[in-house]
């Protein structure tokens, strides 16, 4: 068991180190978050809708698009120089590789989620609402479910001719629960409603993330086998 955790840990460490040194994906995702906030601001007529009424939905849609941008390239750098073959041939079980990749993607996406939240609070003049902790929990659980699906299907799309083009078609239908419960919780929390009102949402987000993680870990070996 401890060996398994160490294998997962090594992959997480390698990916995060790579990201820290190149800052490739974070730079792109961070810039995307800010620019999406700018465009959403101009696409909203504030004489018709109050920004705080639609902010939660926009936050989650930005997170989804931004997540696809980054998570879609999970296997890109490695497959370019053949390092993916090496990783897959290593004695680490395939699910350990999947979990390592998912955790490092999660770390990246969660930081981006915080940035998205900050950008929208700044641009749309939002208050932090009733419970910052519950808000972080909603973003965290949503991001976890997202990266579990995103990591699995980015391995699928990396093996197709269409590449990242096919990724939204595979992932979007499955993301419906995450968007419904996530945006629902975020909207209510930003509006200052009590945490008890979103406890159900948070539980469903957690269950969704768990199922996506378990299914992803079980199915990943069939995607990368040769």
């Amino acid at each position: 068991m401890s060996l398994y955790l160490r294998q997962v840990g090594v992959i997480v460490w390698k990916d995060l180190l790579l990201e820290l040194r190149t800052r490739e994906r974070f730079a792109a995702m961070g810039a995307f978050a800010v620019l999406a906030g700018v465009l959403f601001n101009f696409s909203t007529d504030t004489s018709l809708v109050r920004p705080q009424d639609i902010a939660a939905g926009l936050i989650w849609m930005t997170l989804v698009f931004d997540g696809l941008l980054g998570v879609g390239r999970t296997f890109h750098m490695e497959s370019e120089d053949g390092a993916l073959q090496g990783l897959l041939m290593s004695p680490a079980p395939k699910d350990a590789i999947f979990l390592g990749k998912t955790i490092s993607n999660f770390a990246l996406l969660f930081v981006v989620a915080l940035l998205v939240l900050g950008v929208f609070m700044l641009f749309f003049g939002l208050e932090i609402g009733s419970s910052p902790l519950a808000l972080l929990l909603a973003l965290g659980l949503g991001s976890l479910g997202f990266v579990a699906l995103g990591t699995l299907f980015s391995a699928v799309s990396a093996g197709t001719r269409m590449g990242e083009t096919v990724l939204p078609i595979l992932v979007f239908p499955l993301l419906v629960p995450m968007v419904i419960y996530g945006a629902g919780a975020t909207g209510r929390l930003l509006a200052g409603r009590p945490v008890a009102e979103v406890a159900g949402n948070l539980r469903m987000l957690g269950a969704f993330a768990l199922v996506a993680l378990a299914a992803g870990a079980a199915l990943f070996r069939f995607v990368v086998e040769d």
Binding site: G159, V166, I169, L174, P177, F208, L219, V223
Partner: protein
């Protein structure tokens, strides 16, 4: 059963299904009584739910045979999954076109975010992804594995998707056939609905077997071509 046998049975069943479809159309236009509140438009009822149920059966078969394919790696399971998924796309498209037409008259709107509508639309797109990954891989075996993963992941998350969209209130009629108190439909309507369901399932099974036999024949052709080349 040999492939020739499967193909013959498929042809017979598909022909029976098409004949039955003619009968269903005849009965739903000239025989069954007109529903009191919706009038003539309600006759689409004898096409829409049977198409929907057939779609769910087809996608169920596709998900199940996909999982078994990944487990047993028998080519035939993959042919079955692909054939069922194609059938599901056809009947799903029928369901998704008849639904809005009926909804426009009965509810006053083509589309509403009702749980079952949303579920079937998303299911349709999941299987669109199934065919997209399948057709865009260089290595056919990879395509089979990828599409199986898509089908399994889709079927595992479907309950979540359904639960989450139930959050939106429901406009779709409550079940009228399968419920505790027994069917609440008038006799002739129920008879025609169940006849139509039977016809749709026979047609689907016929198309499914034809498609399966085609895949088998293609496989055999490749084998023979390879043997001839050696």
């Amino acid at each position: 059963m040999s492939f020739t046998g499967i193909r013959r049975t498929g042809v017979v069943l598909a022909a029976l299904g098409l004949l039955g479809l003619g009968l269903v159309y005849y009965l739903s236009f000239f025989w069954v009584s007109t529903e009191a509140s919706q009038g003539i438009v309600q006759r689409i009822f004898y096409v829409h739910p049977p198409a929907a149920w057939t779609t769910f059966v087809a996608f169920g078969i596709a998900a199940l045979t996909s999982a078994m394919y990944l487990w047993l790696r028998d080519e035939r399971l993959d042919w079955a999954a692909q054939s069922a998924a194609e059938g599901g796309m056809v009947f799903g498209t029928i369901m998704l076109t008849t639904g809005p037409l009926w909804g426009r008259i009965a509810w006053g709107t083509y589309w509403t975010w009702e749980p079952r509508l949303t579920l079937t639309l998303l299911l349709w797109f999941i299987f669109l992804g199934y065919f997209m990954v399948r057709s865009s891989t260089e290595n056919p075996d990879q395509g089979k594995r990828f599409s199986a993963v898509v089908a399994i992941m889709g079927s595992m998350l479907i309950p979540f998707i359904h639960l989450s969209v139930i959050w939106f209130r429901s406009l779709h009629p409550q079940p009228v056939v399968i419920k505790a108190e027994g069917p609440s439909l008038p006799g002739d309507m129920l008879t025609l609905l169940l006849t139509s369901l039977g016809v749709f399932l026979v047609l689907f099974t016929g198309l499914f077997m034809l498609r399966y036999a085609l895949e088998g024949a293609r496989h055999e052709l490749q084998l023979r071509a390879r043997r001839a080349a050696d």
